[in-house]
Symmetry: C2
Subunit: 274 residues, 2 copies
């Protein structure tokens, strides 16, 4: 039986997964998070399946040393290509972000035309398409890789900028032409440029951020497995812990701008040793 007070492990290639961590903090404030951002090896989106499986295994081994009771893969690329392989090897629950995003989009669409923007590796995996067609074989699913979005977000100064809007217009043109009415932000970095994507797509297109639904799924899972934390006192706040594989300071600055909590306790570890 898992310890109810044990933390939830959350990982991503970098800062993108913080958008999922933020949503977990909002919806399940009683849970303690141990976050790992693989800042030494970001981005994942252009890397091969085998490499991402290897990286995910190392990170999971590290999170296990922190005594986590469940793991959230807060990275679409890793969820798309590594989740099924690593789940088989694990004795604790693990969830990704893709099923949640697919479910929300399938429920939101009116005309049955759903777009997905994501990294190259996520799009090439066709995992979103697969889940969506499982939910409803009548859906028309159109994927588009946007490889510059992650560097644009990580760059920091281009978040609200005409250049980002111009690049978004270019990437999204095809999805507009195909008249989608629902667009999945299929990379955890993308909610950080949500307003730009929204402006380009127009107000008739619903943007789906899988973070919200992922946090809901996690909450349900904790209840189902009977492992939710019940010991936090009224008015008490959880303390979360952050680990990165490189450049602690840059991560902290970014994280402080996204999260409602302090990120001062960020520690750099050598992930290749795990």
């Amino acid at each position: 039986m898992a310890d109810r007070k044990a933390p939830i492990g959350v990982f991503d290639s970098g800062v993108g997964g913080l958008t999922v961590a933020r949503e977990i903090m909002r919806q399940i404030p009683e849970e303690r998070i141990v976050y790992f951002g693989d800042t030494a090896r970001v981005p994942y989106g252009s890397k091969s399946r085998d490499t991402i499986i290897k990286y995910s295994r190392q990170i999971i081994r590290f999170l296990k040393t922190q005594g986590v009771k469940a793991i959230v893969v807060a990275c679409n690329t890793a969820s798309a290509v590594a989740l099924e392989d690593v789940r088989k090897e694990l004795d604790i629950p693990i969830i990704g972000v893709i099923k949640a995003g697919a479910r929300t989009a399938a429920a939101a669409t009116h005309n049955g035309r759903i777009g997905i923007i994501a990294t190259e590796t996520t799009i090439n995996s066709k995992v979103y398409t697969h889940f969506l067609e499982e939910l409803n074989p009548g859906l028309c699913v159109i994927g588009k890789a946007c490889p510059l979005f992650v560097p644009l977000v990580e760059e920091g100064t281009f978040l609200k900028d005409p250049i980002t809007e111009e690049i978004a217009s270019r990437y999204l043109q095809e999805l507009k032409e195909k008249q989608i009415d629902t667009l999945i932000l299929g990379c955890t970095h993308y909610p950080l440029i949500r307003s730009t994507v929204g402006r380009v797509m127009g107000e008739n297109v619903t943007l789906v951020n899988p973070a919200y639904e992922t946090a809901r799924e996690l909450k349900a899972l904790l209840i189902e497995e009977g492992i939710g934390n019940t010991s936090l006192q009224e008015g008490q706040e959880q303390t979360h812990t952050f680990y990165v594989s490189d450049a602690t300071e840059k991560f902290q600055q970014f994280a402080e701008s996204i999260l409602p909590c302090s990120v001062k306790d960020t520690t750099q570890i050598n992930i290749e040793e795990y």
Copy 2:
């Protein structure tokens, strides 16, 4: 005594170093190259000094298993922060790209105002400024980090594009205002967007590509140490070997577009094991 027929090791974080390999092939066609591109961990330019030193040590250990007689660090970031540390541990000659670029720029400037564009880590290291001031303390040196240039080049489809020109205009504005007459392309990816940078800066600014001077320096070094290859027959062509840490196919496609030789023999290795 080193074997004259032994190859030259050349490495970079990804495809950028191919611009240096190309120049070595042109100037010293009798030499055989073993190239390593760290495509699993690209980009280096936003990573910390310690991480880049660790990665460089792993790569050098790998190149030594290939029997190289000399090493070229065809990456400005690694040259800036790792070269001096790894040189001490090596029993074969190793050169970077920064001294060569600094020398060429110092010789080219008329008004003594030199700009450098490079990654964040290279600019923050101030290594170019240090070398230039050593060559001529009267020089005025202005550095500018351009973190989006590497992803733009690696993206592939934006090489000749108004968006790249717009981003370049933004990054280069300050250097234009400061009236530099010489600009060092301080990242081996940048020669691939040389025409865009040239258009933005105007024809009165000399662009310095350290690759040319690095190949010259290597040639002189091989003669000085008596380790140049003398056994290639007239009309014979050298065969080069390529290794990457991920995504062989994408690297091959890119390399074929840059190099005058076949890149079919590209092998993926697990660099973390070295």
